[in-house]
């Protein structure tokens, strides 16, 4: 127990110092931040936070981010889970090929594909729409999500599948009634990852969105960055304020990462 908590606290400390620095940095002046990055602020600049919080822009961007991220999460989870289910459970010609096909997506750097991607979104008329950001994000998240899902789905005891078959369900209802409820840990994991990726994604909204009122928060940081200088204290304050939603999402999702979901299902 001592060993356990001891280790946990040490690692947590290492992890936390930079994070606390972020939060505290938001209370400093730029100069203070530079010469005293780790200590308490010489003078608490509450206004850094207050100015952000009291501005409508922050809330609007947060709303946009949330909207984009939730659409991304829902779509990623739904689309990937379905595909992974088919790939995990149905034997069909070309299923191995398909899996490889999805894997390819992990192996090509997005940076290369930005321009063609933009052209595609433009041709679909999705420029400057939320969907124009969401769809590519989902597409790029699919490879990993499908792999994770498939891996997990295969661990669902096959006896349950058989029981469901005998109870009169087919693939689809088995997916809905048994696979998904039993895959809560991985659903939550994928959801968190998709959320974080979307939340912090910068390049996609940058390229696809033109109207300021659709900007998610990563584009909002821009206003603190000039050509030759950056107001880091404000950036830090801003980032601190945008971590909070992710933390909430994390708490909501990780409740589902629980053990023993299949306990009691089968004997032997």
């Amino acid at each position: 127990m001592l060993y356990l908590y001891g280790s946990l606290f040490i690692v947590a400390a290492i992890v936390l110092v930079p994070l606390l620095t972020t939060a505290l940095g938001g209370f400093k002046t730029l100069g203070d931040l530079r010469v005293n990055p780790f200590g308490l602020p010489g003078e608490w600049q509450w206004s850094n936070y207050w100015d952000i919080l009291s501005g409508a822009r922050y809330w609007q961007m947060l709303g946009n981010s949330l909207l984009i991220a939730s659409m991304t999460v829902v779509l990623t989870v739904a689309v990937a889970a379905m595909a992974a289910f088919a790939l995990a459970h149905v034997r069909f010609f070309g299923s191995a090929f398909l899996m490889n096909y999805f894997l390819v997506g992990l192996m090509f750097p997005i940076a290369t594909a930005i321009l063609p991607l933009f052209i595609r979104i433009r041709d679909l008329g999705l420029l400057d729409t939320y969907l124009g950001v969401v769809l590519p994000q989902v597409a790029f998240g699919l490879g990993m999500a499908i792999l994770l899902f498939r891996n997990f789905f295969r661990n669902v005891p096959k006896e349950l599948f058989e029981a469901a078959l005998v109870d009169g369900s087919g693939y689809i209802r088995f997916f809905w009634f048994v696979t998904l409820p039993l895959s809560r840990p991985i659903l939550a994991t994928v959801a968190i990852v998709a959320f974080v990726n979307s939340w912090n994604n910068y390049i996609m909204p940058l390229i696809m969105l033109n109207s300021q009122d659709k900007y998610p928060w990563p584009l909002g940081i821009m206003i603190y960055q000039g050509e030759f200088s950056t107001d880091w204290q404000l950036v830090l304050a801003f980032i601190t304020l945008t971590i909070l939603p992710t933390v909430i999402v994390f708490f909501a999702a990780q409740k589902h990462i629980v053990a023993g979901l299949t306990a009691g299902a089968v004997k032997g």
Partner: protein
């Protein structure tokens, strides 16, 4: 492309071998049961959304990018200046790219040798429901959540030779303050540390999720069989988690090769390209210099490396059987 799916779990051996690949979880559904009726509705309903999205927004753009790699093109107008493989040649002759390759190798090494074990260790610590686990999970996951800009910035502070943590530590020990990020020889190690810090939480989450599906009664049985915690880890956790671990290794390798977000704000590839990775190289030399053709060539090379690695990964693991 090669059978990369085999990376994740060995392809099922010829049915005639009579038993499933040894490392797969017992009783798992995976592909082992026969098809029951109603296959078509599933295929027709479940696959197309992913297929369409993926093809449209990943595969086609990639194909186009690969096509651009044969052009000298700035990204404006249409690519017209066909140069064949010249972009690849240029790339091959570029010293910074070779540094980038080595760096990617280092990152892979560190990810596998340091990051994954750390993630696994922490995952086993916080996968039980003991008081405080949720908090610890969150804390460990936070670096991953943190925006790259912030992470890069903060670690610059830490490494700062004048005011940074490293500086104060160094003065505590009484050695000369290292300017870590400015040092061509050490900067990459500094970057590696950040990489571990930033991304171990992700793997930890995967492991936690994977650990949840290991039957608790196996640990009970092992307890009674007299297993020490380490033995339980070795003989129960590791083998049963191995699908997840293999997945994690895969993501880790691919992710290391694609590492980018973290490095740009931290060092931007410097000093003197010593922390360049393939993708930062791609970004600085391809994207920001608007040499779309050249950038695409880097993408293609990176892709080929990924595929090769994926393929040999599978072979190496196959040999273990």
């Amino acid at each position: 492309m090669s059978d990369a799916a085999g990376i994740i779990e060995r392809p099922s051996p010829v049915a005639s071998r009579g038993r499933a690949p040894s490392r797969r979880r017992a009783g798992a559904v995976g592909g082992h049961h026969r098809n029951i009726g109603g296959v078509w509705p599933v295929l027709v309903l479940f696959l197309p959304p992913a297929l369409v999205l993926f093809t449209l927004f990943v595969i086609l753009p990639m194909g186009e990018a690969a096509w651009y790699s044969l052009f000298d093109w700035s990204g404006y107008g249409a690519p017209e200046d066909f140069v064949g493989l010249k972009n690849f040649e240029t790339l091959w002759r570029n010293g910074a790219f070779r540094t980038a390759l080595t760096n990617n190798g280092l990152i892979i090494l560190v990810s596998l040798a340091l990051q994954l074990p750390l993630a696994l260790w922490l995952a086993t610590l916080v996968s039980h429901r003991i008081p405080g686990t949720t908090a610890f999970r969150l804390v460990f996951f936070l670096p991953y959540v943190l925006a790259d800009v912030a992470a890069g910035l903060i670690w610059r502070f830490i490494y700062d030779g004048d005011y940074g943590l490293v500086a104060s530590l160094a003065s505590l020990v009484g050695i000369a303050t290292p300017y870590v990020l400015a040092d061509r020889d050490y900067a990459i190690y500094a970057v590696l540390a950040v990489v571990v810090w930033k991304y171990f939480g992700f793997h930890m989450m995967l492991f936690i999720a994977g650990l949840q599906s290991i039957d608790k009664s196996l640990y009970e049985a092992a307890d009674l069989d007299g297993a020490t915690p380490w033995q339980k880890f070795r003989t129960i956790t590791l083998p049963l988690l191995s699908p997840t671990i293999r997945l994690s290794v895969f993501f880790s390798v691919i992710g290391s090769l694609q590492l980018f977000d973290m490095i740009m704000p931290l060092t931007g590839g410097g000093p003197s390209n010593s922390t360049q990775t393939m993708v930062t190289f791609l970004y600085t030399y391809g994207v920001t210099r608007m040499k779309v053709g050249f950038g695409s060539a880097i993408g293609v090379v990176l892709f080929l490396i990924c595929v090769t690695l994926a393929f040999s990964y599978r072979r190496i693991f196959m040999r273990h059987d």
